[in-house]
């Protein structure tokens, strides 16, 4: 290698490494900032108190409860529907213009900004179906939002199952139903679960659609039913982060720590599942 070539080679290699380090640097800066602001005010009281005008007394309990309520119903609606749609598209649908249209449509839906789903939810669930600003309206909205992601993840997981497995099962005289449910789906299950967990984790972090659907910013009670009004972690954090006082910024950071623990924890679980399934195959 000539000297000039060696220099260029090192520049390219170092440049690539540098971009990676920049990414890690960003992550580190963000985590340090959040932890620095949030750890001091992260306390048991914080977790069990309700929000208040006084930052020292404010807590995140209602937001936690609201998040749990909304996510429960979101999962109940989105997961079975999404998984079954994915199974249909990959195992039952014949390849014609209609199913291709559905596939393209799902790809588009996956790319639509969250806030547009909020507007859909507002018009359809809150107003037209008259569910009001309730947990149910929020959950249905979020379910619609993550449905395309779950469908795509399920489809990809099923597509990854090798055809030789299906042929082997047909070869011993299995019926279509048996091949799909006794062989293909068990094999695709880890991939499907990864996709579902990632989709749910995204829903937990999303605030925009729920703002539209009317999640309130000051909720000093726990929701007790699906028709109650509510708030979620992400919105409570947004509310506090937007206030000028330093103390509110600090409890916003505390809320963020909790939110990150949940979402990053779910992401880590999904990655672990994916790694395990690759190892088993």
């Amino acid at each position: 290698m000539t000297l000039w070539q060696r220099i260029k080679s090192e520049i390219v290699r170092m440049g690539g490494l540098l971009t990676l380090l920049i990414c890690f640097g960003f992550l580190l800066l963000l985590l340090v900032d959040v932890l620095g602001d949030g750890l001091p005010t992260l306390s048991w009281d914080f977790l069990v108190n309700f929000p208040s005008r006084f930052p020292a007394k404010a807590g995140i309990a209602s937001a936690i409860a609201g998040t749990l309520w909304v996510m429960f119903f979101t999962a109940v609606f989105a997961v079975p529907l999404g998984v079954m749609s994915g199974i249909y598209l990959e195992e039952y649908a014949s390849s014609n213009w209609f199913t291709n249209l559905i596939r393209v449509n799902i790809q588009n839906l996956a790319g639509i900004p969250a806030i547009i789903y909020g507007m859909l939810g507002l018009a359809v669930f809150v107003r037209w179906m008259d569910l009001g600003r309730s947990v149910l309206a929020g959950a249905l909205t979020m379910a619609l939002m993550i449905l395309p992601t779950i469908i795509i993840a399920t489809s990809e997981a099923i597509k990854a199952v090798p055809d030789s497995l299906r042929m082997a099962a047909y070869g011993v005289g299995a019926s279509r139903v048996q091949v799909v449910w006794s062989h293909v789906i068990p094999q695709a299950l880890p991939g499907m679960m990864t996709g579902v967990i990632l989709a749910l984790s995204r829903a937990i972090g999303e605030a925009a659609p729920l703002i539209l659907v009317g999640a309130l910013s000051f909720v000093a009670f726990m929701p007790s039913g699906p028709m109650d009004s509510f708030t979620v972690l992400a919105i409570q954090i947004f509310n506090w982060a937007g206030r000028p006082q330093d103390e509110f910024r600090m409890i916003a950071a505390s809320g963020i720590i909790l939110l990150l623990v949940i979402t990053l924890g779910m992401n880590a679980l999904a990655i672990y599942l994916r790694a395990r399934s690759v190892k088993l195959s």
Binding site: I11, V34, I112, M119, L120, R127, P148, E206
Partner: protein
């Protein structure tokens, strides 16, 4: 599979042989098959209903808006002042605000994302590759509000030291954090594109005595160009759809400017602003969010379709 042989007399059996005919036993299995068929088809149809629903909602709710504001005034007006008198509904300031964040974020994320993708694809082997890729992915897993907080608490003060004239809410801060958020979009998709370049191509280049950096930059990258471009388009689409981070970081002042140090309002931030207030339905303000929402929907739909087209071209070349 069709059969055109003459088979009218061959469905009867010699005695003593097991029947091959479709029997009642199999028919009851067909009932459960039928139920799962229906359930599963219905679920897929729901997605069509959703798209139609979105379109219908947006189009029907803007009726009130456009009966009061002319379409041309809306699309080309240079002043947006929806909640403060005198009311003006020109959408251009919101569009420029949105584009500034989108372009800024993309400009920020493209070099970093491309660098990560190329480096991981060509210079890293084995388990390290998967681990490093996962760490980059974490940037995408962090919720938008957290980025908004980070912008206010760290990025804007830092920028203030470099540009003392910067406003507290500004576009640059928002563009940077949204850029961080979409780096994995570019990195992941581009890395897949680079790795999909067939081995034969690299072998040919190495066989001619090329160096790794030459192969990476002059063979692999151009071969995967459409995948890379698609990832950039998708990242841009994601950036313009971002809500919480830009609302916190860029502010709520509709402002027709290309100066990133000033406060701007994006379409998404405006929608949030209206929703947080108490806006009864049936008012101009309420239907205005659907009008700008329609613009946003059009923009992201266009981007997504373009990206899909680019990806299809890429697949056709190599599969």
């Amino acid at each position: 599979m069709t059969s055109t042989g003459d088979s009218s007399e061959s469905s009867s059996l010699p005695i003593g042989q097991p029947s091959l005919n479709k029997s009642l036993g199999r028919a009851s299995l067909s009932a459960s098959e039928l139920i799962s068929h229906i359930l599963v088809r219905g679920a897929a149809l729901l997605t069509i209903v959703t798209t139609l629903g979105i379109l219908w909602v947006l189009v029907s709710e803007v009726g009130l808006f456009f009966s009061n504001i002319g379409v041309l005034d809306f699309l080309f007006g240079l002043e947006w002042s929806a909640l403060i008198e005198p009311r003006k509904f020109g959408v251009i300031p919101l569009v420029t605000g949105t584009l500034m964040i989108g372009l800024g974020a993309a400009a920020f994320a493209v070099p970093i994302g491309a660098g990560c993708a190329l480096f991981l694809s060509e210079y890293v082997r084995g388990r390290k590759k998967q681990i490093l890729k996962s760490i980059v992915e974490v940037l995408a897993g962090i919720p938008s509000v957290v980025y908004g907080f980070f912008a206010l608490s760290y990025v804007t003060p830092l920028l203030g030291k470099i540009f003392p004239e910067i406003q507290f809410f500004n576009a640059l801060s928002a563009a940077i954090v949204v850029g961080m958020m979409v780096i994995p979009t570019i990195a992941s998709m581009s890395q897949d594109a680079f790795e999909a370049v067939p081995r034969e191509l690299r072998d040919a280049a190495y066989g001619l005595g090329a160096r790794k950096y030459q192969v990476a930059t002059t063979v692999v990258f151009p071969a995967a160009l459409s995948g890379f471009i698609a990832s950039v388009i998708l990242a841009f689409a994601r950036a313009i759809g971002e809500t919480m981070a830009v609302t916190l970081a860029a502010g709520s002042t509709p402002n027709l400017t290309w100066n990133p140090l000033e406060s701007v309002q994006t379409i998404t931030a405006y929608i949030v602003q209206v929703s947080l207030g108490d806006t009864p339905s049936g008012t101009i303000e309420y239907s205005s969010i659907f009008a700008v929402g329609l613009v946003l929907f059009g923009m992201t739909l266009f981007m997504n379709l373009t990206a899909q087209l680019v990806v299809k071209r890429f697949h056709e070349r190599y599969h």
